[in-house]
Amino acid sequence: MTSKLSLGGKAYLALMFLILYAPIFYLMLYSFNSGDSMSGFESFTLSHYADVFADTRLIVILLDTVLVALLSGFIATVIGTLGAIGIVSVRNRWWRHTLLSLNNVLIVSPDVVIGASFLILFTLIGAKLGFASVLLSHAAFSVPIVVLMVLPKLLEMKTSLIDAALDLGASRRDVLTRVVLPMIQPGIYAGFFMAITYSLDDFAVTFFVTGNGFSTLSVEIYSMARTGITLTVNAISTLVFLATLIVVAGYYWVTNRARAAEAEVRA
């Protein structure tokens, strides 16, 4: 496809990527600065990374952040996938649209509102803020995203496939596990990875529901930045960026494998 781009088009594309990525690379470059600020690059050092790894609290927060992302992504994927299947199976058009709109409202409503409402809810039922409250709210705001990622796959699936399977003697359970789920598998993975990225970079909701010593990276970095960005922040951000790259690579690996398997079955 790139070969069809004109020279101007390529230049434009390159410029756009440069603008989008330059700040990130600037930040990463300074994480190796031996100076104390971003005002001038002195010489190469890994000491800021050493600082990160020497700070047990920071490492615990890093691990907790990943743990919350993975686990909330998992919970959201299970609930969201079932939800999407439920929405598609609604026959009444009006009902289906209403359900879908209710789902979409949750995606567009501001994080601050969602965060505040969770805080009120947890206070009301007297729950202790901490790991559980963060995990539950992350899972909750990720569900609509998973639904949205799985839905197109379900819609492009031919209903005749299900009818055929039923005709050939498959039980409803078989239809779900052997026909529907394999067909929408790429959507499920996409939803899972989207949920992870949403959880990793969420600040507003998490800010409201953390407490009792539990914190995630975005909230912690925000507190640290208050007294001026230290290069430790650059070092953690670089690590997080690399982790995100790994997640993206993982996503492509899984979907490519799924696609290859699919092609094999068809062949």
Binding site: L70, F74, L119, Q185, N212, G213, R226, T227
Partner: protein
């Protein structure tokens, strides 16, 4: 389906491993069984080695959490979902929290190191008799400037220097009603706690004559601007000025002689505390002379701990910019809680001034 099951198992195993790793790391930093305290402090406002030292000495495990504004901290404590044992609010917030019944009275018998605090910093109007609070760090509001970027001879030992015609479009102010209107009042020789419409009017009119010199009214963004020689003069807090000066040696800090604000961040024990003994032990530990000196070296703010000051670098504690002498302190005032009605008036006058920009 098989692939989905396999992926799910992989994710759950990864979660279990992460949970195990984070749990064991938390446990290794937990020295013993003498309980846990949760400390709620400003970001980057303590030497982390001291927390480890406290844990080793007492066996109390410290959960350390940070906040970025007094208001954020107040909300978390009011909400009550977290059991904070020690918090560090600023002076006006101590007063407010005490009024709302959010603080537990301190037990001086459990804080023998209280004797190390300079009596000048005790029994202040925001907490008479130090019933609820003990000062942690203190400082002033003043002017940080870059001598290379302002005309020679300007030393800002008077607020009037800000009005110098040579400073056209060079002055940055801190974005706070109390700070700016207070400075206006100080500059016409009045107290920064007045409750008098006529004086506020005069102060605001005087501030408006400063407009041609003002480049911007901003918050923490001022630090990089001053450090990188991109701004010449700024109204700022001494702690922030110390941070700037650590990175740019050319900068100078001055507290004008007409008077200015004196601020405190203080240890308190919120009502949410579940380990009151541990909280007292922590405060007492932080007031130790050696600990206080090490912490002040690390944080770079002015300590009220007289015993700690003796152990610190002579050059630091005799620096009159950050440790003003008795004579200089005379005109410094703590912001009193003016009540919502007068706070609203200060905000209105500040808005009026900002509109004139």
């Amino acid at each position: 389906m098989k692939s989905l099951i396999r992926s799910s198992i992989a994710v759950l195993v990864a979660c279990a491993l992460l949970f195990y790793a984070s749990y064991t790391l938390n446990a290794t930093s937990n020295a013993g069984g003498a309980g846990v305290i949760t400390v709620y402090n400003w970001g980057e406002y303590i030497d982390p080695d001291l927390i480890t030292q406290f844990e080793e000495e007492t066996g109390i495990h410290v959960i350390y959490e940070t906040f970025d504004s007094n208001e954020a901290m107040l909300t978390k404590i009011q909400q009550g979902g977290s059991a904070y044992d020690v918090a560090v609010p600023s002076e006006y917030m101590v007063e407010k929290m005490a009024e709302e019944g959010l603080l537990l009275p301190l037990d001086p018998s459990k804080i023998p190191n209280l004797a190390h605090i300079d009596p000048y910093f005790l029994n202040l109007p925001f907490d008479p008799g130090n019933r609820y609070s003990i000062p942690y760090f203190w400082g002033t509001l003043g002017i940080v400037y870059n001598p290379n970027l302002v005309p020679e001879g300007l030393t800002f030992d008077s607020w009037q220097d800000l009005w110098d015609p040579a400073l056209k479009q060079k002055v940055f102010l801190y974005d706070g009603a109390r700070e700016v209107v207070g400075m206006g009042l100080n500059s016409i020789g009045e107290s920064l706690n007045v409750k008098d419409e006529a004086l506020l009017r005069r102060a605001t009119d005087h501030l408006k004559t400063l407009v041609p010199n003002i480049k911007g009214v901003i918050g923490d963004e001022i630090t990089p601007l001053m450090v990188n020689n991109e701004a010449a003069v700024a109204l700022t807090f001494s702690g922030q000025a110390a941070d700037m000066m650590a990175e740019n040696e050319d900068l100078e800090y001055s507290v004008p002689r007409e008077g200015s604000n004196l601020w405190f961040d203080n240890f308190v024990i919120p009502k949410t505390s579940k380990n009151i003994e541990g909280a007292h032990a922590f405060i007492n530990f932080m007031l130790d002379a050696e600990v206080g000196a090490q912490n002040a070296d690390y944080v770079g703010y002015s300590t009220p701990n007289a015993a700690a000051m003796e152990l610190m670098d002579e050059e630091v504690v005799t620096d009159e910019r950050f440790y003003p002498t008795g004579e200089q302190r005379k005109n410094l005032e703590v912001y009193q809680n003016l009540g919502p009605e007068w706070m609203g008036k200060y905000s209105e006058y500040f808005m009026e001034f900002k509109m004139a920009l």
